[in-house]
Every structure is written in C-alpha cells, then in structure tokens.
Subunit: 378 residues, 3 copies
Amino acid sequence: MEALLAEWEGVRAVDHHCHPLLRWPLDLTPFGLRAVFTEAADPTMIREHVPCTAAYRGALACLAGALGCAATEEAILEVRAGRDPGTYANALLERSGTGVLLLDHGFAGGDAFTVAEHHREVTLPQHEIVRLETLGEDLAAGVDDPQEWFQAVRAALQAAVEDGACAVKTIAAYRSGLRLRRHSPEDVAREFSLFRAAVPPRLTGKALCHTLVFEAAACCRVLDVPLQVHCGLGDPDEDLALASPLGLRPLFEDPGLRGLNVVLLHCYPYHREAAYLSAMYLGVFMDLSLAIPLAAADGARALKEALGLCPWSKLLYATDASRLPELYFVAATRQREALAAALSDLVTAGFLSRDEGVEAGRRVLAGNATALYRLQPR
Amino acid sequence: MEALLAEWEGVRAVDHHCHPLLRWPLDLTPFGLRAVFTEAADPTMIREHVPCTAAYRGALACLAGALGCAATEEAILEVRAGRDPGTYANALLERSGTGVLLLDHGFAGGDAFTVAEHHREVTLPQHEIVRLETLGEDLAAGVDDPQEWFQAVRAALQAAVEDGACAVKTIAAYRSGLRLRRHSPEDVAREFSLFRAAVPPRLTGKALCHTLVFEAAACCRVLDVPLQVHCGLGDPDEDLALASPLGLRPLFEDPGLRGLNVVLLHCYPYHREAAYLSAMYLGVFMDLSLAIPLAAADGARALKEALGLCPWSKLLYATDASRLPELYFVAATRQREALAAALSDLVTAGFLSRDEGVEAGRRVLAGNATALYRLQPR
Amino acid sequence: MEALLAEWEGVRAVDHHCHPLLRWPLDLTPFGLRAVFTEAADPTMIREHVPCTAAYRGALACLAGALGCAATEEAILEVRAGRDPGTYANALLERSGTGVLLLDHGFAGGDAFTVAEHHREVTLPQHEIVRLETLGEDLAAGVDDPQEWFQAVRAALQAAVEDGACAVKTIAAYRSGLRLRRHSPEDVAREFSLFRAAVPPRLTGKALCHTLVFEAAACCRVLDVPLQVHCGLGDPDEDLALASPLGLRPLFEDPGLRGLNVVLLHCYPYHREAAYLSAMYLGVFMDLSLAIPLAAADGARALKEALGLCPWSKLLYATDASRLPELYFVAATRQREALAAALSDLVTAGFLSRDEGVEAGRRVLAGNATALYRLQPR
C-alpha cells in the first residue's frame, strides 16, 4: 500500500464531484468541524455521536498529521485560527493531491462561496457541474406547462455546457427515489401544477422527477456530457431503500439513450450493484466518494468490493467534500489510501502485477475523469 | 485483539436482548445441543447440516476451552451431565462476562423457566422486555374493536413498565414484514375481525401489525422506554426480503414520534443499512446479536462493516441466546471477540488510538445499554 | 491456504453447472479471449474495459502459469495456436482438477459442440442439465393451450431424466424476475397466446414464466432431480433488482413441494441471502460459480461471506464456464483457491480444526454434488 502511494505522489487527482467551500474568514467551533463529517443534521447527533465514529477520530488523526499538532479538536482549531484562512485552505487542498475540482454549486447555502468567489479564492482549477433539480426549480416561475418547462431546462443545460459546465447532476434519489420509469403526460401535468403552485417551487413527485431525469439524459447525450446520479447513502431526506442504482436500468436499456454516460455517485451500500452495472454497460461509471470519509474502514472495504466487478477504467475519484478544507483533505487522503489498499491487495493476491496496480491507480485518480469530462491533461 | 479483550476483562456486559433458559434438570442430547445453534427447525437440518457449519464447530471448540474437555459433543455432554445443572448454568453465564440480562419471555414455550423461576434459578440480575405481539394476542379475548384493543395494549404496556419492564419488542418482521405504513381504519377493522375470530388469536396482516407498531411506538415514547425491532435474519416464518430496517423509516420521520428510541436487533444481512440509520437518526441504535453466533466469521465481519457508519455510542451488545447456557456462553464469547477484532482493526488502520478502542468497547459492552435502558451502573 | 490446496490435490471436482465448449479448431483472437471473461456483450466493453479488470489480468496470470509462458494475450494465444486444439483443451480441463461436468447445452449457439460432439471430443465424463425455458420454447409449436403445453413439458422432463439428465435449470431471472408468485389461469392463458403467436416463440411474462417454474418444480420433486435456479449476476438481459433468491420463498414454503431440492446458482451479490436460505431450508443448496472468475478477489470474499451461514454440506462447486477451455481452467483454479482461502481463514480463526477444513473442502468440491445428483463416486 505504501509503495503504491509513493508511486502516485506526483499524480494530481481529478475530484470529479465536490461542493464549494464556506466563505472565509469564519469562526470554526468543534461543533462546526464535527458537522462536516456526518450527513446527520440533528445537533445532538453532531455533539454526542459524531465524536464516537471511526470516521471522525480518524479525521482528527489525519489532520493532526498534516498540521503537525495533537489529534484533538482544540489543537487543530488552534492551528487553523493562527493562520490566514485563504492560505490555510489552499495549502490543505494543495497537500490533498487534488489537481482539479468539478464543483456542484447547487447545494450551497448563502454562506458558501459563489462560483465567481470560488474561482477567485481557491487556487485549484475548477469546472462547474449543473445541478438538475435546482435548475428546474429556478426555471419554474417563467413557464406555464411541462413542455415549456422541459424546453427551458434543455436550453439552460445547453447554455451551461456552452459556458463550460462539464456535467449535469441529478438528486432524484432525494426527491422521488431511483426506481425510474416512464410516466403518462397526465401524471406529469398534475404534478407540474402542484410544483408550480408551491412557493418557493420544490420538485417532488415521481412523474415529474423521473421525466425530468429522462429529459436531462437525452440532453446530456446530445451535448456529450456525463449525467451524474446520486445513489446510495446521503442525508435522511432520502429513503435509502429507493436509492439503489439498479433502479436506473431504464436509462441503460433505452436505445434512444445509447451513447449517454452515467456516473453513479457514492453508491454505498449498493456499491456491488453499481460495480455490476459498470461492468455490464459501456456508459456506466461509478465512485465511492462520500462513503470513504464517512464509513471509515468500511468505505475502504467497499472500494475493494467494488473493484471486484468494476473495471478500473470505470472507477472515479471524488471527495464529495464541501464547506471546510479539512473535509477535502481528509476525504482525499482516505480515498488514496483506500485505492492503494484495494489495488495492493490485488497485487498481493496475484491478480495484478505491481506495474498494473500503479497504472490502474493513475487512471482512477486522474486518467478516467480527464477523458470522461474532456478535461485538458495537466 | 487479545490486548483489547484483556482490557475488558472486568467489564460486566449488559445483554440487552435474550430469552429464558429451559427449566432444568433436562437430558441434553447431541440433537438438543445442535438445535440451539440454528434457526432451522427441520430435524434433518439439525441432524445433518448444523454439524457442517463453522458456527457449530466453533461453538464446540469454544465450549471445550471453557469446560476443559475435548471439542466433541460427547465430551461436552459428559461434562454437563456430571454437574449440578444450576451450578453448571450459572457458572457458564458468569464466565461469559455478562452482568445483566434483559429478557424477552414472550417467545418461550412451556419448557422454559417462567419469569419468577428465572429470577430464582439464574443468579445474574434480570429485567423484562415486553413482547408486543404476544401481549396483543393475550389481550384480544377481552375487547370488541380495534380502539378498545389498542387502549388495552397501551394500558398493559404502561403497567409493565411501571412494574419494571425496560423495553418493548416487536416481531412485526415475522407477522407482516417491516415495510411500515399507515393504514385506513377500515383495513384495520377488517383484519381485527379475522384476528378476533381465530382460535387462538394470532396476529397477522399488515394493517393490524403495522398499526400496532405505531401505537406501541407512541406509547414507548411517552413511557420513555426503547422499542426493540427484530430486523434481518430469523427463522423461516419470516420473509427476509421484507425484514430490512430501511422499511422502518416512517418511525424515524414521524414528527409525532420525535424522542422515541428504536433498537434494531440482529439486522444481518442488512447491517450496513442499520448502521446508516444509526448514523442518521438520533433515536436509532443497533446490534448484531444473533448474527454473531450463527454466521461465525461472517458475523464478525458484519460487525466490522457496521462499525463503518454506526457510531459506537449506538452499537449494543446482545446474545439473543435462549434455552441453553451453552448458547449464552458461546454467543457472548464470540460477541466480545468480534468487537475486539473490529476495534483493533480500526486501531491498526490508524482511525483510533488504543485508548479510544478500549473505551469504545466498554461503551458497546455496557455503557450504551446502561444509559439507554436506564439501568443502574454496577 | 496452500496446505488445504495440497490436501485436495487428488480430489476430482464435480462441476455441477457449466456450458459446452466451442467447436474446434477455431482462430482465437485477443478479442475472443477477452469475450469469455465478461458478461458484457458490447464490443467496446470487451475491447477497452475487460483488460482493465482484475478478473482478466488475473486470468492471464493464471493461464501463463499453467502454460509456462508470459502473462500476455500474445504469449498465451501463441502457445494455444501451436497445439492440437483437442489435446490442448482436454489437457487444460484435466489440469483444472475437475472430474465430471454437468452441462447445460440449452444456452449454446451453433458454434458450440452438440451433446454428441461434446461427449466425443471432451474426455471428461459428462451429464446433461435440461434448460427449462429452452425446452418450453421448443415445445410451443405442437400445443394449443397452456395445459397441453405444461403436459408436454412434464413429459419431456421425464423423458430427459430417464435418458440420463441429472437436473433441470431455470433462467426465469432473465425472463420474468424471481419474485415468484402464483398467477390466475386467465393471466397464464393471455400470456400463452402472445407467446405462441411470436415467431420464434420466446418465453416472457411473469404469469407464464412463474407458472412454468412451479410446474417444473413439482415435476423435479417427483422425478427426484434438483431444480437449478439462476440467481444474482448475469448479463444485462436481466434486471439484477429482480434476481434475488429471496423471491423464491414460495418454492420453499409450499407444502406440496416438500422434498424438492433447489440449487441457487451464482447468487452474487445476494450470496448472504442465499446462504441464509441454505441454512434455513433442507432442500436449498447454493454455489458462487460465475462470481468467482468474474469478481476476482471479491468473488473469493463472497465465498467467505457465504460460508458464514451456509453449511458446507450445502455449498457446491461450479465454474459456469463455457466456450473456451481457458475459462474452465481459470474458473476452476480460482474456485479452489477461494475455497481454500475461506476454509483456512476459519481454521486460523479457531472455528474449524485443520482436518475439518480439509473434509469440508472435499465435500464442497465433490461429495455434496455426488450425493445431490446421485452420481457414481469416482
């Protein structure tokens, strides 16, 4: 494992899915640090239970190593408070080994950097990902019926891609679950009326959300950008029982969508299912992203399981980090370690030569995403 | 792993979910010993296939170590036959490291100790768990409609808790599956009529069972006792496809049930899902209990997987043992070993310091349950 | 692990589920070699992504070891091209340690050996497995209604078994999914009309496929041959979400089918569920077959997971290989290694003695299948 990590030292990874940082300066409390290492929103969960997770204890240890301080919240926050926030954040990002950020700004609240601010404050190169449901909600006010709305969405997606966006992302898992199917125009129209009537408009309903995904998929195919789909674990807004990527089969089997690239994000605990899909369908890719920092040793185990069926040419690197540079750093570090552990196991077991392991890792860290998102190789 | 086990030597564990012992003396045959190490009831399964499981072979080895005899059924049964049954049983329980038993007597047949007998014959401190469906069936004769019945159940739960019961347990997984939802009063009434007409009354039907669970949940919240929910593996009465804890989401999302504590029992093979719920919702706890003695090395692996997302402040220790002290001993021993293996892996991988690992184990063995069930610390 | 492999060196395994070889001589290209190590059919998947799998890299390494050449496609194909195809194929099969093949010829195209050719060209003893859906389609032309058709199927199954067939296999997972239930005669009749009208007839539809499985199950019970059921991973024709063996519960719970033996094939990623069923129901058996060569190290991990609940008296050895002797050899080799790794882990962890591990492996390799399919012991 150490040997592979050493080989990849110069590899600048493509973080193909993450979110913006919070605007600095900010006063970070222990509570604020804990809050980014969980998907739970309940304050008691954050205060009492997050410190009792391997993920958070390991994060403190990981940060302590990077900052040269004790593995305690106090020591880490003290180091942070003593530095210029921009210098501190950019140094952590730089040390994480990440070379490019593909950012979904659609999730951020008002305390996060805007796109322009993020480009100005964060020195790493960045590209934008369009968040489909946010876009759909933003466009609701100006249209009168579903067809007009879908047309507005298509036009906006095209404009965004022409403006440099490198992917479209859907969080249908949160809004309707992922058991995708085609719906009747009547059902779509009925749900659209409810959607338009709400203030502010919030997308829900299977007919509307699924149809929007199919529309976006067709659009992504024509625009030749990947469609990222949140699968598996997330916050409690989502019913995990409805978040398996196997429900996306209609996207993969539809002859009209041939050529579409779909990237399954997070996936845990459905990562073996995601790996199966990646092994079966040319246009399917996957990552473990969020599972790596949150599920600690089991995130690393999940990566080993995924590398059963999933070709390494289909596996991508992502942190799904947001808000604090500490999370970016920890997620990136754990991601590399997990990848090195998985590939070195395969080398030890005789499946791969060491050179093949090194090369496989380079592709996962950077090569696959560079090709898929048509980024310039650095 | 050995180091952690040594650190916990003095920790008296809280077995927060188990069942009563069979009344002694009894003549134990090899068949009888095999029968407690499986959920299968088929005699040929017990005779021919249970001996071909890692769980049973490992159980013999584990018992042989404790009894100082050969790892064969004959040797173990000979030792047992030569001792006073009460002394033998209490010695095995004592050696298991368990300090308190929380007992579900609702499952036992006539050959098991009654509550009073169990307190008299077994020296470990004990508390009772109310088995919801058994209670519901017992109360069916005296009522005329669902509302009266629910009221009787509520009154009986309150009386049981005032009388010292420390939890309520539902086996809805066996009766209706766990894809919980609210049902119409008409559906409840129709199923109630069938239920009342049967002799003896046996609870089945989604409308009736689910509604009973919601009633009990509301009651547990007010009485401030946890609701234990059987999830995942059990005997063939259950359809495992319907036993995922993800189906319990309505219990966690209902604002009227805020403050309710729900304990997911067994969980395997849905333990990653259970860990996810434990990491998301303040009131969700989990154990692996039955999976540890029955799934052998994979039970231990499941515990490692669960400690991915599940905070150790949410993980509980239980044997789910019943009938024979041999099962209590083996289940308790394997549980500690599995916990030590999982936590020492996290120490080795750098997620936890050794002290954190020791402390995490203490909480799982005793601290979490002592707080959750409001037991006196020993 | 090495120690167990050495102990089993003389054990001729029963490959209880595989498919015929391609007729030789044939010109094998790198593309042709890659194509057998995936379930994907897309040529770009085979060209670009199969070489980026641990399964395929490991297969090259495995073949290189056996052939005494470099672990490259070129070297392997060169060795192959220089040998007599029959001698080469039979030598690889012989070296694989397999002693008997149970063959499903129903899947093969025109380029595979017929039953008679296979017996003539391949020196290993062979028995046939009847592929239910192929049989049903072949019999469609001669009948006028479902009852006649079911009767023809029953008669043909009986004739096949009298003629030496040792099992019946269903691929209902591909045609209707495995959430089995009983259907009304009207639904069966309606689907039968569509089925009969199609040219060539192709079985689809839940009512028709499920009813055919129940009919075949009843027939297998009377004829005393096992019913093999494809579960879990396969090619993209199948919706993996509908391929869990838990859906087969009606086969296990029906009192009229008591005594039926059902063998769950492949199972991954539902192998823990399959192991649960094997541990609960006397008539349920399982294998990992296809998962072992395709999921590489995770196939081996899946076998460890399955040996949690599954008695080793219920676990079977199979390659699910087809077309090329290279696949037979690699799948057989990996199967033995995975079995040795799983059992030696159990020995190391103290669940089994070494002798028990050796004996367990013998049963999985040959003993269980010999008894289940009533083969003559060699």
